[in-house]
């Protein structure tokens, strides 16, 4: 029991420290005292004498970006945790049913037709939802098979199909103008996060989180074979549909504003499970804390290491994999 509490405390502490650090660093030099006085003036509603750029950097650029990293990291980790429990497989990522590929297709289509950011995000969001909807609709019509296997196979097939359409679009795209834009979107980035993006993504992620939190005990039963879970009183089909919808909503919202950032949804639930075990009610909050902290740390590096931006997906893999191996070596419990 105590080791579990320690994990929460440490994770929460790390998160707070990272958030403070993230606000304090950046390419545009802003001193800690400036940040403090700015935030103080915002809270008390009084005027401040700081240069306009400082306010822009902290409130319009860095602030939303830091918060977005937290939201996206937590959302991806939560979705990954739900999927790993539901598919009884610790090697599952939120993209197993194709939400990222669907979102990518939506975004690539929008870029192909030279649309603005808002349309690109909208297409990405609906693309992600539509892809999973399609997979779920087809998968649940395949009778006579283990329902999970049907879903996974359909997800792989549809994901490959959508991936090939993306490849075709990349091929047809104007190599000077659209192709670089497509490539950069697929690499993922939080560089362009605006307060408006946060205002859209956060409520959607919360909407997806709510059912997961409310049903956290029943989620545990999804880890049992279908027969057993049903015999214990759970309508597995309804529960799965609801959780898939919730996890997809969270992931689609995250991918729409940040592009595709891999590894968070796969590694973080793992790490959290190694620390506190598989009980969903204990696992979910820790996974979200760790996911938020991890992505925030990575994104802070992405925007401060060099003049140019580094794609976060590269760093999540570079940092995440050795970190995870270390954790796995240390842990006494299995997953």
């Amino acid at each position: 029991m105590t080791s579990r509490s320690i994990s929460y405390v440490l994770a929460a502490g790390a998160l707070l420290a990272l958030t403070a650090l993230a606000f304090a660093v950046g390419r545009y030099p802003v001193s800690l005292s400036e940040i403090v006085s700015l935030l103080a003036s915002k809270i008390t509603g009084s005027a401040n004498t700081l240069p306009a750029n400082v306010e822009t950097v902290v409130m319009q650029v860095r602030g939303p970006r830091v918060l977005a990293a937290l939201v996206v990291g937590a959302a991806l980790a939560a979705a990954g945790t739900a999927y790993q429990g539901m598919f009884r497989n610790p090697l599952v990522s939120p993209d197993i049913l194709g939400v990222s590929t669907g979102a990518a297709l939506g975004a690539v289509l929008a870029i192909f037709f030279s649309q603005g950011i808002l349309v690109i995000q909208l297409f990405a969001f609906t693309g992600g939802l539509a892809a999973v909807g399609l997979v779920y609709w087809i998968g649940s019509r395949l009778r006579g098979h283990d329902p999970l296997l049907a879903l996974v196979l359909t997800g792989v097939v549809i994901g490959t199909l959508l991936g090939s359409v993306i490849a075709l679009l990349k091929y047809l795209a104007d190599p000077y103008n659209q192709l670089p834009a497509i490539t950069y979107w697929l690499l993922g980035s939080l560089a362009a996060i605006a307060p408006r993006d946060l205002g859209a993504a956060a409520p959607l992620a919360l909407a997806g989180l709510a059912p997961m939190l409310l049903l956290r005990w029943r989620m545990n039963l999804l880890a049992l074979p279908d027969d057993e879970a049903r015999a214990l009183g759970v309508d597995t089909r309804k529960l799965r549909t609801l959780i898939v919808a919730a996890a997809t909503l969270m992931t689609a919202a995250a991918v729409a504003v940040s592009g595709i950032i891999g590894w968070v949804g796969l590694l973080i639930p793992h790490a959290a499970r190694l620390l506190v075990g598989p009980d969903f009610g204990r696992l979910l909050p820790l996974a979200m804390l760790l996911g938020a902290a991890f992505l925030l740390g990575v994104d802070t590096l992405c925007r401060t290491l060099a003049t140019i931006e580094i794609p976060p997906g590269v760093l999540t893999a570079l940092i995440g994999t050795p970190f995870f191996l270390w954790l796995f070596a240390l842990a006494r419990r299995s997953w």
Binding site: T56, Q60, V61, I117, N177, A191, I308, E309
Partner: protein
């Protein structure tokens, strides 16, 4: 003895008749075109532009079919040339059989001339037995490329005329730049977010470098890069140029961009893009127009030029059709192209 002499003479003469003299292209490869070059396949848009300018009847087709808003700038019989696809390094869409089918005498490409593309060109040349010449696509190398291309195609006179004119234009640009006392810092923003830009030496900002402008993103590495808002705010450019109309629109309303000096000073401009873009892409001779346009925006005192006249002249020489007044109005009147 005399028979031997006559035979040798005849052989030399024969060789001279059936082969053109070899031309060394920009990648250092020797190109031997046939005696008469009637049909030239241009492997990418910058090449299409030059071949079309020199001898439009010899161009076998465009790499991409013209859209109606592009076609209206060209004489109709040329606008409808077939679509043959690209054979250039960045993403080929051409079918080599199609190229052969078009009875090509010569393949040319204008752009980068490094070893990778040179080996690609040699490979295609071996495959098809059609001479494949590469030429340097940099703005300042355009006159040389025109001359070399003219020699290869057997149109030295037309090419010389264009090359001399282009040289003169470049010299005029340089003179005006030299007279300018204030060189503002310029940020070139691409993509809908405006956060993609070109670092020092990147082909995307070549026009800026010819203009002696201070690229705000000069400290970034060469090539296309993404930067963060904070970085742009730190650079605080005085002028922003872009090729993306979505970004141009959002720069005025987005509170983050409003903090940038260029937006405050209302010096955010959108490059025209018809029929070939004026700035950045395609990276060909079309960027001369971008030099005049950006020069006027960056150095308004020294670049007191009649942009319409310059555009008309360029179109007449390179697109073989003068734009109508209405077309000029549309080109220059699009929101963001010129200061109000």
């Amino acid at each position: 003895m005399s028979r031997f002499f006559v035979l040798t003479l005849l052989t030399f003469l024969g060789k001279a008749c059936f082969a053109q003299s070899a031309v060394v292209d920009a990648s250092g490869r020797e190109i031997r075109p046939p005696a008469k070059v009637e049909r030239v396949y241009a492997a990418g848009p910058p090449a299409s532009l030059l071949v079309f300018a020199i001898a439009p009847d010899k161009l076998t087709g465009w790499t991409r079919a013209m859209r109606p808003n592009e076609a209206e700038f060209f004489p109709e019989r040329y606008a409808n040339l077939p679509e043959l696809g690209r054979l250039t390094g960045r993403g080929n869409t051409a079918n080599v059989e199609v190229v052969l089918n078009a009875k090509t005498d010569l393949i040319v490409d204008v752009g980068s001339t490094g070893p990778t593309l040179a080996s690609l060109a040699s490979q295609v040349q071996e495959q098809t037995r059609i001479p494949y010449g590469l030429f340097d696509g940099r703005i300042e190398s355009t006159p040389a490329a025109l001359r070399a291309l003219g020699r290869l195609m057997g149109n030295t006179a037309e090419a010389e005329k264009l090359a001399a004119w282009y040289e003169n234009e470049l010299a005029q640009v340089k003179q005006r730049v030299a007279r300018a006392s204030v060189h503002p810092s310029v940020y070139y923003g691409r993509s809908a977010s405006g956060l993609q830009t070109g670092g020092k030496g990147s082909i995307n900002v070549e026009a800026l470098e010819v203009l002696g402008a201070r690229n705000a993103a000069a400290e970034a590495r060469a090539g296309l890069v993404t930067v963060s808002f904070e970085q742009v705010l730190l650079w605080n450019p005085e002028v922003i140029l872009t090729t993306d109309p979505n970004f141009w629109k959002s720069a005025w309303t987005d509170p983050r961009w409003r903090a940038v000096s260029a937006v405050e000073q209302k010096r955010v401009y959108l490059s025209p893009h018809l029929p070939f873009g004026w700035f950045d892409f395609p990276p060909g001779a079309n960027r001369l127009l971008g030099l005049w346009w950006a020069g006027k925006l960056l150095y308004p005192q020294t670049f007191d030029v009649d942009l319409r006249a310059r555009v008309t002249e360029f179109h007449r020489l390179f697109y073989h059709r003068e734009p109508t007044a209405a077309q000029l109005d549309a080109l220059l009147g699009e929101p963001g192209v010129l200061p109000k």
